[in-house]
């Protein structure tokens, strides 16, 4: 019981800490976007390719850009206090709806990338660590160095060229087959086919990191007394890896994944663009380019909450894996 109480208390504390974090993010985000030259009206008019003085004035007043800076920020906070993220003129809908349309895409992509990265990383790392210096170790080391150093968008494009254009196995982009009304297993397979390449390109960089991390942990674990004893007692190879070696390797990995969540969210921008994946990263990028602060701040708030929540979850997972790491 104390365990679940501690988890609850940790979640509450995380939540309370999120409030000042969000205040800082919103204020900083707002002013940093102001620092960038040009405003939303400039962008929208220029994007349309022509403008007159009158249409510029109409745009500015529609965006509320004719108001003083502080009152713009003030009214944003007033909206926030009422749990409203404001309205996007560029997209013609409330920001919260806009984000809710994209959030599932981003979470799916992130989750799939994390699962892929951790499982492939564990697999490769174990293979490498069990027999360091042998050829599987050498080959996987070179591969992980490659994935670590090559930018994700290039990997993404190469995956498209190979799997979509050459082999024709997987779609080049998008979140699902548009216009097809699928259900059940077909629906799942269709989503998975669209998810495979973007999740893999996002994951490969982290696979490289985790593989090396696991390799080191495995080598270290192998030389420990309890493992040597287990080997001496004739414990089966797979049971040995599962119970004694991987268990100790999982600790550092979980800690790293928790730290990488924000990075994966950032990397999603590029992957979402390459694969036309309808997620939040691209929306954030477009919001910055078009200088629409309501959209940008909305995304920052949601992303911050997402990262905080993921970290809380990983804290808990870690404490479950290793009772010595207590939930604070």
């Amino acid at each position: 019981m104390t365990q679940s109480r501690r988890i609850f208390r940790s979640l509450l504390r995380n939540f309370l800490q999120a409030i000042p974090t969000i205040f800082i993010i919103v204020t900083l985000g707002f002013f940093m976007l102001q620092l960038a030259p040009g405003d939303a009206a400039d962008f929208m008019a220029a994007e349309a390719g022509s403008a007159t003085a009158e249409t510029m004035a109409q745009l500015r007043s529609a965006f509320g850009l004719d108001l003083p800076l502080l009152s713009q920020l003030g009214s944003y906070y007033a909206g926030l206090a009422n749990f409203s993220l404001g309205h996007s003129l560029r997209y013609g809908m409330p920001v919260s709806e806009l984000i809710m349309q994209r959030l599932p895409g981003t979470i799916t992509l992130m989750a799939a990338a994390i699962v892929l990265a951790v499982s492939l990383g564990l697999l490769a790392g174990t293979v490498m660590g069990m027999r360091p210096g042998r050829w599987p170790d050498r080959i996987l080391s070179v591969l992980s160095l490659l994935f670590y150093s090559v930018p994700a968008f290039w990997i993404g494009l190469m995956l498209i060229v190979f799997f979509s254009i050459r082999l024709g196995w997987l779609p080049t982009g998008g979140g699902y087959t548009l216009g097809a009304k699928l259900s059940g297993l077909d629906w799942f397979v269709d989503r998975a086919r669209h998810l495979a390449l973007p999740a893999l390109s996002l994951a490969l960089y982290y696979v490289a990191i985790y593989a090396r991390l696991v390799r080191a942990s495995v080598i270290e674990a192998k030389s420990q007394d309890h493992v040597r004893t287990a080997i001496a007692k004739g414990m089966g190879r797979y049971r040995l890896i599962r119970v004694h070696i991987l268990r100790s390797a999982l600790g550092p990995i979980t800690a790293m994944v928790g730290m990488h969540v924000a990075g994966i969210l950032g990397g999603a921008v590029v992957i979402e663009t390459v694969f036309s994946w309808p997620g939040m990263g691209r929306l954030a990028y477009e919001a910055i380019l078009s200088r629409e602060y309501t959209v940008l701040l909305g995304i920052l708030i949601v992303s911050a909450l997402l990262v905080i929540a993921m970290n809380a979850i990983f804290d808990i997972v870690q404490s479950l894996l290793d009772p010595r790491v207590a939930v604070r």
Binding site: A51, T55, I160, T273
Partner: protein, 531 residues
Amino acid sequence: MISRRHFSQLMLSASALPFIAPIAVRAQQDEPRRGGTLVYALNQAPPSLISLVSPGVERGISAKVVEGLLDYDHDLNPRPQLATEWDISEDGLTYRFKLREGVTFHDGTPFTSRDVEASIRIVSQNHSRGRASFANLESIETPSDHEVVLRLSKPAPYLLRALPADEVPIVPAHLFGEGDPTGNPALTAPVGTGPFRFIEYVRGSHVLLERNEDYWQAGKPYLDSVIIRFITDGAARTAAFETGEVHIGGGASVPLSDLGRLIDENPHLALETRGQVYDAGVNRIEFNLENEILANRNVRLAIAHLIDKDYIRDTIYYGYGAVIDGPFAPEVPYYTPGLPHYEVDVDLANRLLDEAGYPRDANGVRFQIRIDPRPLADTDRPTAEYLRARLAEVGIEATLRTQDFAAYVNRVFTERDFDIIVNGITNSFDPTIGTQRIYWSENLRRGVPFSNATAYNNPEVDRLLLAAAVEIDPKTRFQQFADFQRQVVNDLPDIHTVSQFRYTLYNTRVQNHTVGATGINGNFADIWLAD
């Protein structure tokens, strides 16, 4: 279970197939086939889906759902759409339109003259190009449900060409009552009279349209549905065309560097260059005439003598587009060939700069200058790099600056903190609408994007532009624009390099996609998919 006999029959018919298939295909080419879903790629997701308040990317979507009064053939001759007959008074001040009867909007309300009145009113007040097209509009009258009369204060010789569906969309008046149209939900969930009904818009992903069963042109459209996919990455669009996931795309669908390879390697892909008149444009190098060095015509003339436009066309534009000397693209009806051409002549350029009073210093440098390429087209930066290399040859030291689009627009049109920009401009359907804004001295307006950035001011050019804007005699008007082009090329406020190469890239299964001047921005009613 397949019995042996069945199996051999199957084999027999399969082996006969190749001989039958070509005949079947040929028969289908002639006869439009109903059904199928067309996937159409757009480079960007627009703020709204119809071009009622802004002439941006939404022009690629608008006409499929919301129609206009007129449509145009490839020579820009008007054809009926929602207007069946039209008549312009002798003095060019009264336009009468007879409207199509028995047409209903997708929500079931009948289409009447009140819808036309409301739509033109919104466009003339909110649409940046519409404000120019309808600048002389004095009143709109609706004598009956199917008659509209526009009365002008001055002639507007361009007005009849300003009425395609993607310029002046006719929306139902009851959805756009009083008040500001910019936030209207019908902009992103449009209702019109067009061949396709709006079904859904998933931001950042796609728009889904389905056949309008009650379309006034019986038997059309042929397609069941249209999916408009937003694919922002050029390489991703290329891949989607290659695999056949996308059937058609307009404007600049794939990077020019990929285009040649794509057409050569994929027999199922082809190019269409017609249907681009409304988007014809030119690439330009513009000088800030408020800069005291660049204010000197000899300096600009020297720079003009350095630029090899053929080289720019062949290397930066991969041979696409046409080398031009004046402000109009060859597709524009008022394009005048034989304008003054500045030959490449480095010695002459050096001499001109010496005479202008900018000798080389001890390091061989005459003066320093900044170049800002527009961060939008991937050809503007290479052009700026080429320009920098050419300028270095005569001792002008140029630095390139980088910024994003909003910052660029702010720098050039609001702060006016630039020397030379590499830019592009759309000519649009008429010089009064598309080109006058660049050269008219009164359009030197801070804070208005794509206005007169160079601060060009020539009373003779102003006179020609204003006279042509109200000239109803086509011959006189042509001469006025010819004189205008000659004068601008002579004054060198900017240097025109290559016309913008715009094309429709399509899968050869797609038939009848370009049937008029608006090309891929048309309504898709005639499109059908072959097998």
